[in-house]
């Protein structure tokens, strides 16, 4: 009961404070990610390089760093940080939106079948030997294609409401997952299969500014759209009948949101492969921090998702000498966290009775 009152106090007294804290943590995570790695660069020097890159001419007394360090920061770490932060923000935002739309806190971006479609596109590109940009392009194209299929199937079946979307997503996603399996089965086990498996596990290896733009443009545009609609998600989460009685064009609005989410998810998978347990876990954390109101939940989820994937990527590239695929890390770290939260929320439920 006391904890409950505390949570309420935080909710009322501190939304601004919470967001300042989250923003500061994100900046700190970016700076730490710039500094650490196989080639450690002191934080102060990393910061000076960053400032010099951002505002040329602010370091007039000549560079106090090696050219090598500048290249590592500019060509390797900054684009990777951008991709990781955008992927995390996009996935967590998508998860929060979908959990609201489907009125179910156990929904993750994977449920609408877009990630499977995008995965198939990427695997297909690796199979036919396209470059890494070919992988990105084909994965994005198939992500969008699967979204169109989900939309078409749901319309064709004539069903209305959430259930028909979920079923269509499961059907389309299942089909593309089967195709991915088929590709893996057919792939040359020496030449192609390792690349396919590694890509499917998800990684930010090889992130450059082109990939940052590929994930950045859809994520920022669609994300901004979803953030603008953040209060409408509250209304949609009431359920179809109630929301439409309040004057919300439920069907149109839901498909607009799903379309925006699909853009984000397709962009993420195409650039960094399959990364689970971000879109499911982070919105729960955000809900504990700022409450269920999507006006605060959506921005909080996005910031926390960015922080989470930045830190996971730092782990991925520093823990052992061989880089760990990020998808494995997010699952290994995400599942016990989720289990712990499940236990805590159950405990809370008991104390209310």
């Amino acid at each position: 009961m006391t904890r409950n009152r505390n949570a309420k106090f935080v909710k009322r007294a501190g939304p601004a404070f919470t967001f300042i804290a989250l923003g500061t943590t994100l900046v700190a995570a970016v700076i730490v990610s710039l500094a650490i790695g196989r080639y450690p660069i002191p934080v102060a020097r990393a910061l000076r390089i960053l400032i010099a890159l951002a505002i040329p001419g602010t370091q007039p007394d000549g560079p106090a760093w090696d050219e090598e360090e500048r290249i590592i920061i500019q060509i390797v770490r900054l684009p990777r940080i951008a991709v990781a932060a955008l992927a995390g923000a996009g996935l967590a935002l998508s998860g929060a939106v979908l959990q609201g739309l489907f009125r179910n806190p156990l929904v993750a971006p994977q449920i609408i079948g877009i990630s499977s479609g995008a995965s198939f596109g990427g695997v297909l590109a690796i199979m036919i030997g396209l470059s890494s940009y070919g992988v990105v392009g084909l994965a994005f194209a198939f992500g969008i294609l699967s979204m169109i299929l989900v939309f078409g199937l749901s319309r064709l079946a004539g069903g209305t409401g959430i259930l028909s979307v979920v079923l269509s997503g499961i059907i389309v996603g299942g089909m593309f997952s089967a195709f991915v399996g088929l590709m893996q089965y057919l792939a040359d086990p020496d030449k192609k299969l390792p690349g396919i498996v590694y890509w499917l596990l998800g990684s930010f290896v090889g992130a450059d500014w082109t990939k940052a733009a590929v994930i950045g443009f859809p994520t920022v545009c669609a994300g901004a759209g979803l953030l603008l609609l953040r209060w409408r998600i509250n209304l949609l989460s009431l359920g179809d009948d109630d929301a439409s009685a309040l004057g919300v064009p439920v069907d149109v609005l839901r498909w607009v949101c799903l379309g925006l989410v699909s853009l984000i998810v397709a962009a993420q998978v195409s650039v960094s492969g399959g990364i689970g347990w971000v879109g499911l876990v982070i919105p729960h954390f955000a809900r504990m921090l700022v409450g269920p109101d999507h006006r605060r939940l959506l921005p909080a989820s996005a910031i926390m998702g960015a922080i989470y994937l930045l830190l996971m990527d730092d782990l991925a590239r520093t823990m052992v000498s061989q880089e760990i695929p990020i998808g494995i890390l997010t699952a290994i770290v995400g599942t016990p966290i989720f289990g712990f939260m499940f236990w805590k929320t159950q405990a809370k439920g008991w104390s209310h009775d």
């Binding site: 609201g100 179910n104 603008l228 209060w231 209304l235 009948d241 929301a243 009685a245 309040l246 919300v248």
Partner: protein, 259 residues
């Protein structure tokens, strides 16, 4: 009497072509009136409410709404623990721009709506932690915030204990009398309709209905026809007032005509 707030004519609806849930229904309710809809399970009460609010479209006939509709579904459940205030604020959906969030003005109206129902002390409570009666009141407040003229309630008393049933019935009457709202509600309790409704619609059959003033429509014979069980009209003195109500006669169910 002023113009009708809500009227429907020749109303027919079928989920499958040819299988009419009901057909030819007709009725009218004015501002400040309470209309109760009675009928057995599965006769299409909720369907009728959805047609009246416009959530569903009728195959036949016409619904005229002279004012803003507010609908409260049965078994109202929220999945996220929004605060009562946030719930009431959602009533402002029509007044808030698509890409916008509620303004301070909207928040004032939401708070004022809570105050009018005397539950402003609940504003910060989680909606899903409220009792059934408090929830109904919060939803009424939301309808006030939506500036609804016509309030449509699907079985508002069915999940409540006796005290809260009376409490909500009292508020249904007050919303009609004091806020000049038109209230339409469905119920399985003829005594609830008899206590507060000016008008009653009996859904006797897909093509057979009776709609009119509660006193005229609700008779022992009609209710027997409606429910297939005996109901007795009772009249007695209680605290200096004459009370009239219907009670079902359990254990004496007959399927023939009454004596």
């Amino acid at each position: 009497m002023t113009d009708a707030a809500l009227s429907f004519e020749n109303l027919g609806f079928a989920y499958k072509p040819g299988t009419w849930v009901f057909r030819g229904y007709k009725g009218v309710a004015h501002r400040g009136q309470v209309l109760a809809i009675l009928g057995p399970n599965g006769c299409g009460k909720t369907t009728l409410l959805k047609l009246l609010t416009g959530i569903l479209c009728a195959q036949e006939g016409l619904v005229r709404r002279n004012g803003q509709m507010g609908f409260v579904p049965q078994l109202f459940q929220v999945r996220f623990s929004y605060s009562v205030f946030d719930m009431v604020l959602m009533g402002r959906a029509r007044r808030v721009g698509l890409f916008s969030v509620p303004s301070a003005h909207d928040e004032n109206i939401a708070m004022e709506s809570l105050r009018r129902l005397g539950i402003d002390n609940l504003a910060d409570r989680a909606f899903d932690e409220l009792s059934g009666g408090q929830r109904q009141l919060a939803i009424f407040a939301r309808a006030l915030a939506a500036e609804a003229d016509i309030l449509v309630l699907d079985e508002p008393t069915s999940a409540l204990d006796l005290k809260n049933q009376g409490f909500i019935l009292d508020w249904i009457r007050r919303l009609a009398r004091e806020e000049n709202l038109t209230v339409v509600f469905t119920t399985h309790h003829p005594d609830h309709a008899y206590a507060v409704a000016d008008l009653t619609l009996l859904m006797l059959d897909a093509c057979d209905f009776l709609c009119g003033s509660t006193r005229a429509v609700m008779t022992e014979d009609r209710l027997h026809q409606l429910y297939g069980t005996d109901l007795k009209r009772l009249r007695f003195e209680h605290k200096g007032q004459t009370v009239e109500t219907f009670v079902p006669v359990y254990g004496a169910v007959r399927h023939g005509p009454t004596e």
